[in-house]
Symmetry: C4
Subunit: 248 residues, 4 copies
């Protein structure tokens, strides 16, 4: 195992902890608008600290990589979400990093349980979208999304493509968040909905199958008897061995 | 058959009757707002009675279960919908119980007729959603859903994800009902729509197949003749039996 | 061929002509609101005449049927759309008859060209829905669909489930038309969209396949040579004939 | 290679350049409303020049074609988009030509990379739709789409069928553009969304497969041993060769 892999393995859980801290520090001032000043400052400091941790993690991985240039090209998104938040209003981009962190670990842990993964991903995407859209839209002139509960409602109606139109982003940043949620979220929720639908179909069909099994067992018994008869015939007619193969 | 299974079998039809009673007692005051006082009281009493029946059924099943703790974990939803309605505004949750009751029996009865099941489920889900949303929204400030017919219209436009936006829930409880309808209903109606679509494709293709059958029959006749020839050849060349198998 | 089948075959084209006449007589006063009185009366008379033709066709088929009762049960929709328009406001239902007429003939003619059938069906459904909704909504208090072009726009945004909400039915009859369009239309347009999508995928993949064919041909040549070698070996080793079959 | 094919091959890249010029000349006055007069005139002249190039290309291909009449019928859309823009307001139709140009070259280049093709196609369709709708709607009475950024937002919410209803076309030309975007765009984005969804499922399943591979390898080893044993048995029992084939 290379030193890069070892680093990744060792930092997996600590980085998830850091991601959770970011989510809380980012979400708290959005969910509770009237926080005392010291709490606001604390959350801001925590977010900056998280950025330093992510930046340090990127640098270490860059140094440990065999081929620096290839690493930069392959993980260009990591570079973008680490460099751009230096412009304060773009600290939102760290949410992408958080989503990435959870999804990578999730894939490694869940191993094949597509439904659990898609459901968890949908919930996380709704949470981050609701936080991001509320943060971006609140206070904008003509905004319809004014609280976190509005944000959740908007995220759900958008993901399901219902789109009532009672709430929609009016700022450019909000529209970019919405576009991302639409493309990613519709695909993700599509997996959940399709799984639900196929599970319904399966449940009904299984009930029918139980009934069909009895009949099928009888047919199989008959087929086995026929096969046995044929095999005996083949043994008896040793001079015509190709018959048995051709008749199948 | 265990005593639990026996209980389930015996109570199946009575519990469906109870579910129908709940639907009527719940729906009547919503559909007809100006009911006389005694009718309102009667409906309320009936709903409480239904709750007692469901609670009693849960308790009996709990006592009959082999492993009490496993039963509680497996049927945790049953516990939730039985305990929470004690808080009056949450009596809505009994609708979940009613939906469950119908769907379980439905699966056992319909055995494989996916379309009938999905159509019935869609109709029942539209009915319960329309009732629940009208009950929750009517009278709320800024509400757009004011009568049962509004509720039905809202449920249909939401399930199909059309979402005109002329009517949408404004209360938090209404938004939770909507979120449930979106995820569950879209999956369910997806089954109906997909079945309809595949039925259309099939109808058109069947017409084409009728024409193709004649041709295929001729091809099959030819193939059978070829096979017969090959078998005769194999019999004639008893010394090369592997040939017949390899040429297939 | 029974007399009923003969009747069906003979009346197929005349009845399509009658359906076209109904569409024109129904649609003209909707498309051009300020028609002179005599034209309005003419269209009304034509529609009544079409009803008589459909009613006569139903009666003749009923008399020619072997089992009257079975015929009534199987074609109950025919009976409904023939009897109900006697109540004037329900003459809309004759549109169902017209749609049915076209779709039955379409299936027989197109034989397997699913795309053409779905596209034609979608166009016809949009036309009839636009006519019906404009007829029903125009003049209603608070109506947003006021002209035939509004009706077309509404039908398209509804079928694709976009549902902007700039136009939606407000009358109960309009909402029933909308519900029908949603379920039927979404399925139908789903066929068109899915076909378009799979055609796109196919076009791109075909280009890739042209390139792959050359390689595959070489692989096939090699495989054929290997097979020939094996067959020769099998012939040489007449004493081990099972080998050739088992190695495949 | 015929002279027509040679012409096509030679003009492929120049015509793409011309298409890009058209896009810029068409889009610039829409994106930057307050352009100086000379720039407006320059863009208009460039668009006319592009029309002449497309018209010339059509004529040359018509002359080089073996069967003139067949060429006209097969490429009727080319004729329409070349002839109709003579009516000035219909110069929009040249966008169809541009889309066609990119998609044809794209299919030839990308060969099988469906995702890249669908993503590129979606981006180009959003760009052209946003340009066209802004050009058509801006300044119309009651219009909600007033700038290019509004146009992009409208195109995305329409393609994903979310349809908030905060922005929608009000002119007839705009509604035709919308109808085209809905049918074509939904199919195209459907490919992107479905690919994304299946990629998610695949990623999760691959993680599970890595684990399963070890087990499967063991099973395969066992199966190989069993086969070897059977082959030896068959060789030993030279008198019952059909047995080995029948037992498979």
């Amino acid at each position: 195992m290379s030193r890069l892999d070892l680093w990744r393995q060792r930092t997996e859980w600590p980085l998830i902890g850091v991601a959770v801290i970011f989510l809380v520090a980012y979400g708290l001032p959005i969910a509770v608008p009237g926080l005392p000043r010291w709490a606001d400052v604390l959350c801001g400091t925590l977010m900056t600290a998280v950025w330093f941790v992510f930046a340090a993690d990127y640098l270490v991985r860059l140094l440990l990589a065999d081929d620096t240039w290839q690493f930069v090209r392959r993980y260009w998104l990591d570079l973008v979400v680490v460099v751009l938040p230096l412009l304060r209003p773009l600290r939102l981009l760290l949410l992408v990093k958080v989503l990435q962190r959870f999804s990578r670990t999730g894939v490694q842990r869940l191993r094949g349980r597509v439904v659990t993964y898609a459901t968890g991903g949908t919930a996380l995407l709704i949470l981050t979208s609701a936080l991001a859209i509320t943060d971006t839209e609140r206070g904008a002139p003509g905004a319809t999304i004014e609280s976190l509960s509005d944000g959740f409602w908007w995220a759900i109606t958008t993901m399901t493509t219902v789109g009532y139109g009672d709430q929609f982003p009016v700022t450019t940043a909000g529209r970019f968040i919405a576009a991302g949620l639409m493309v990613g979220g519709i695909a993700l929720l599509g997996v959940v909905t399709a799984t639900l639908a196929s599970w319904m179909v399966q449940t009904v069909e299984e009930a029918a199958e139980d009934e069909a099994t009895a009949t099928r067992a009888q047919v199989n018994d008959l087929a086995a008897e026929v096969r046995a008869l044929r095999a005996e015939l083949a043994r008896a007619r040793d001079t015509e061995p190709a018959e048995a193969g051709g008749a199948r």
